[in-house]
């Protein structure tokens, strides 16, 4: 545990408090404006319970949208800066942890080989070990893991530097996997770099993270901002572009608000082993899944526990050379999101945990709101239908003493203004980021100002069309969790994610049905709302088409990212190793050709 002086370092500094207050002020102002506008619109035909309910839902939804938008906007006000450090060699010993669970060992171990080579190029190889921590349940995959581990050791001459352990029982899933390593071998290391199976990091970046950990004795965890690479589908490339183009600015805003109570996203992050060991032993929660049992989204909890113990948890968004791969289709994204949904909602059990910092508790609430917020919109739509059904007939003669008719005020402009405002909250931060990228020159890494702008508009279009489909999946996940249906840990499906129309229908036909039924009901019960709802129900009705279309390879040349125009060296190393290994494997699998005449 850090001493009293270091414990003070975990408190929020003045700039952090200013950022939080500014974002809070903007969010409250936007929410209050939305509330008042809708209340005025709703009361044009007399104020009733439906108007008040809808106004409250608008208040909550607008606050949440504005919170995210403001985070992006404050991220534009500063630039990420590397801390000024003395140029001295690193002294600590670091374990690079690669947890795997039924992954393809060739691709995963090729990443380890590439990172090992990248670290070797920095001249600090002696300071790093790799530990491949397998929780693989599939025996055939486990057998391949062993074969390819031996190949990895031979290629990298890495006996004594790269280790492999497969657990017989995967207690506690990934968190338990890491804990098992720490309790067996943690005392041998100062730091541990926690990766995912699809993580890839430059050796120089890893060394820089060690340097930063050594320079800040109060630093318990250092999180990098991973960029998505190797995406080929339209959906994957939109996510990849968003991660490279928008996320750094939003992360900057996040870093400004979180200060020393920063995030842990479970991978591409370095921990101080003793701090982690002393602070982050996770209990199983009382009760059964989905709210009890092992903590699924353990990373947020571990960050909160480190902050509780007085350690700094920091996001350094200036660090480049940190990569991961993402899902190539909406269905794989939804499967992964289901796990995150259950993990985040489970945090409701921990918001009141003893001793946590206020910001850690707020992070749990934010994680829950991220999945509950779509339900506010769903409730708003349903309430709007009922409001139309139960709308009173206009009273043209409200005053018995006035013989002339009084027509109700038309407050439609307020509704339009509110809709424009809400769309503004969604679109404005991204458009401003594009303008800033053009002005600052950052757009060069994305193919130039013009191409980056086109890519921005393309990403906005794709994400707007896919949003109702993604929200449908999220809403279903929430209902599954709330009704106690445990989603567990589906294996991530990394690789070619193209979906045929039949496959897309099997995965998303229910969204089509709900969209069509919803449209028919609204047309029948509240026809005045049909036009307003079309941007939501049309994508839902077309869900299987959109899911299939977005899973196919993109050939437009748009949404280019720096890792494609000027790939980081470790990406090239990974490709080289993979080609060599797959080539050898293909040759080994070829049937022997009998000589002619035999």
């Amino acid at each position: 545990m850090p001493g009293p002086g270091l414990a003070r370092a975990a408190a929020a500094g003045p700039s952090t408090l200013r950022a939080r207050l500014l974002v809070l002020a903007v969010s409250l102002a936007a929410a209050a404006t939305g509330f008042m506008l809708f209340l005025q619109f709703g009361s044009s035909d007399g104020l009733d319970g439906w108007d008040i309910l809808r106004s409250l839902l608008i208040l909550l939804s607008t606050f949440w949208l504005a919170w995210g938008a403001a985070q992006g906007l404050i991220g534009l006000t500063t630039r990420a800066e590397a801390p000024a450090l003395a140029d001295r060699p690193i002294t600590g010993k670091t374990a690079i942890l690669v947890p795997v669970y039924n992954e393809d060992p060739v691709t995963t171990f090729a990443r380890v080989a590439a990172m090992d080579a990248s670290i070797a190029a920095t001249g600090t190889q002696a300071s790093f070990h790799f530990a491949i921590l397998s929780d693989t349940r599939n025996e055939a995959v486990a057998a391949r893991e062993e074969e390819w581990f031996l190949r990895l050791i031979a290629d990298r001459q890495a006996e004594g530097r790269i280790f492999y352990r497969r657990r017989k029982v995967n207690t506690g899933k990934k968190a338990g996997n890491i804990e098992d390593f720490i309790t067996r071998s943690g005392a041998a290391y100062d730091f541990a770099l926690i990766l995912d199976a699809d993580s890839l990091m430059e050796g120089a970046t890893i060394v820089e993270m060690v340097r930063r950990m050594e320079a800040a004795p109060d630093l318990g965890l250092l999180q990098s901002l991973p960029k998505v690479i190797n995406a080929s589908s339209r959906f994957g490339r939109a996510m990849q572009f968003s991660a490279s183009f928008f996320s750094p600015v939003f992360a900057r805003g996040l870093a400004m608000m979180q200060g020393r109570t920063g995030p842990f996203w479970g991978h591409n992050a370095m921990v101080r082993v003793r701090a982690f060991a002393e602070s982050c032993g996770l209990p199983a929660l009382r009760g059964t899944p989905p709210f009890g049992g092992h903590i699924l989204s353990h990373d947020y909890v571990e960050a909160a526990l480190l902050a509780r113990a007085g350690w700094t948890v920091r996001l350094d968004d200036d660090l480049e050379g940190s990569f991961e791969e993402g899902p190539e289709n909406i269905v794989d994204h939804a499967k992964r999101d289901r796990r995150w949904c259950q993990g985040n909602l489970q945090h409701a059990r921990l918001v009141g945990a003893p001793g946590l910092k206020f910001w850690s508790r707020w992070v749990f609430v934010q994680g829950i709101l991220a999945y509950i917020a779509p339900l506010f919109w769903l409730a708003f739509i349903i309430a709007s239908v009922f409001a139309q059904i139960y709308a009173p007939a206009p009273d043209y003669f409200p005053d018995d003493n006035w013989p002339f008719p009084v027509f109700p005020a038309d407050e439609t402009t307020k509704a339009i203004g509110l809709a424009v405002g809400i769309f503004g909250l969604l679109l404005l931060p991204k458009l401003l980021i594009a303008i800033d990228a053009w002005a600052s020159g950052r757009a060069q890494g994305f193919g130039g100002g013009g191409r980056a702008t086109l890519s921005t508009l393309t990403e906005l279009l794709i994400s707007s069309i896919l949003a109702p489909i993604l929200l449908a999946y999220q809403s279903r996940s929430v209902f599954q969790v709330l009704f106690g249906i445990d989603g567990g840990w589906p294996t991530n499906n990394r690789g070619d994610g193209t979906l045929t129309l039949a496959e897309a229908w099997a995965a998303s036909g229910w969204i089509s049905v709900i969209g069509l039924v919803g449209l028919v009901c609204v047309y029948w019960l509240a026809p005045g709302l049909v036009l307003w709802l079309l941007p939501v129900v049309l994508p839902m009705i077309l869900a299987p088409v959109m899911v299939s279309w977005s899973s196919r390879d993109s050939r437009s040349g748009l949404m280019t990212v720096p890792s494609e125009l000027a790939p980081s060296p470790v990406i090239g190393l990974h490709v080289e190793v993979l080609r060599a290994w797959l080539g050898d494997a293909a040759r080994a699998a070829e049937p022997a050709v009998a000589p002619a005449g035999a």
Binding site: A143, R184, S185, Y189, A277, G281, L350
Partner: protein, 70 residues
């Protein structure tokens, strides 16, 4: 050979691969304690703490805070 039954040479190869992996890939033996953290108050402690606060018994309140904190 019958379905699902390994040939003896396959079994021997698998065994030798596993043994080699176990020898070459063994993690360093350097145990480090990782105590389980308290994230939930015990139900009895919650009720007890509430009652104690209600009747103003400070020493019980301090004890609950010590058990629930870091």
């Amino acid at each position: 050979m019958g379905g699902g039954v390994k040939h003896s040479s396959e079994f021997l190869r698998d065994t030798s691969v596993s043994q080699m992996v176990e020898r070459v890939g063994a993690l360093p033996d350097a145990p480090l304690a990782m105590p389980t953290q308290r994230l939930e108050a015990e139900p009895g402690a919650r009720l007890f703490g509430s009652l104690a606060r209600l009747i103003g018994l400070d020493r019980f309140r301090a004890d609950t805070a010590r058990r629930g904190g870091n």
